[in-house]
Symmetry: C2
């Protein structure tokens, strides 16, 4: 957890919205759009996600499509570094490398430009929510294939009961909110 | 055009990359990822996109999925307001409204939460590139259906030869770069 003061944490958490049965029956979805819509909360969330890494000499922030683009851009801005999009298949135009990873049923794929960063660049992986951790783990592996050093990951929210931290064992995982 | 000084404009433009034959043969794609990857350029692009609207009393920035999320978040941060994602079908969890619009072949669809903003909110629509203008026009119509006032649009880049401004006639259109 970051050193976010309790009142800010409480205020941000109050802006999450529970949506039952999304994306499928039985799932209680944590909707971050009310938090994004609040200017103060948006600023505070970006700053809090960046905070643990301010002295970590990050070269680039890696954002995972699509909600990771919103928060990743803010974290990049806070750390005064560039932004690398990790995208769904077919979206990136130039030479790229891809990784396939397992979902509950079937597989998914993520891509990054092969020249997205220098070899040995120190990168921070950002997404909105750490759920099962599959997407985040694949993103780390993808960046390491480029030669990057994944210094850590930063999430707005971790859903602890899904045990996503287990999939990221040995990596530095920071989160602003935890449920 | 914004009052960006010439050297900044030149520097940002030099960070665009031409990718031939993407997404299909004969198209010369303008890839903004080298610009996003540069920390100074990312900051300057966000500031320049926000600049024309600093005195426009914007309540919310609307970003169009997916690259509009990156720049939209930065512009929202610059203007110190909240962010509204306009998304592809099936991504938003809560009650939403959608708009279908024509592509060169077929149609596409965008969605927004019905409670994304107050009625009469003053919103700024942000995307990376103004091409044919179909997506931007549909986004404006979608927001107006919620009762919002679309104060204007801000793009990083306009491809003038595609005449997207024609589709946005009567609206305020600002762009940092123009090709």
């Amino acid at each position: 957890m970051t050193s976010l003061d309790n009142s800010t944490e409480h205020r941000l958490k109050a802006l999450l919205r529970d949506v039952p049965d999304f994306p499928k029956p039985g799932i209680l979805f944590k909707d971050i759009t009310p938090l994004l819509a609040d200017g103060d909360a948006l600023r505070d969330a970006g700053a809090a996600m960046a905070q643990p890494y301010r002295s970590a000499r990050i070269d680039r922030v890696v954002g995972i499509e699509s909600r990771g683009f919103i928060l990743g851009a803010l974290v990049a801005r806070e750390l005064e570094v560039g932004f690398i999009p990790v995208r769904k298949p077919g979206k990136l135009p130039a030479l790229k490398t891809s990784i396939e990873y397992a979902l509950e049923y079937g597989t998914d794929k993520l891509e990054v430009h092969t020249d997205a960063c220098d070899r040995a660049a120190r990168v921070l992986v950002v997404d909105d929510v750490l759920a099962t951790g599959g997407t985040a783990r694949a993103t780390c592996a993808l960046m390491e294939r480029l030669g990057a050093e994944v210094v850590g990951l930063s999430f707005l929210l971790v859903l602890e009961f899904l045990r996503g931290r287990d999939k990221l064992e040995g990596r530095r995982v920071e989160t602003v909110l935890s449920l």
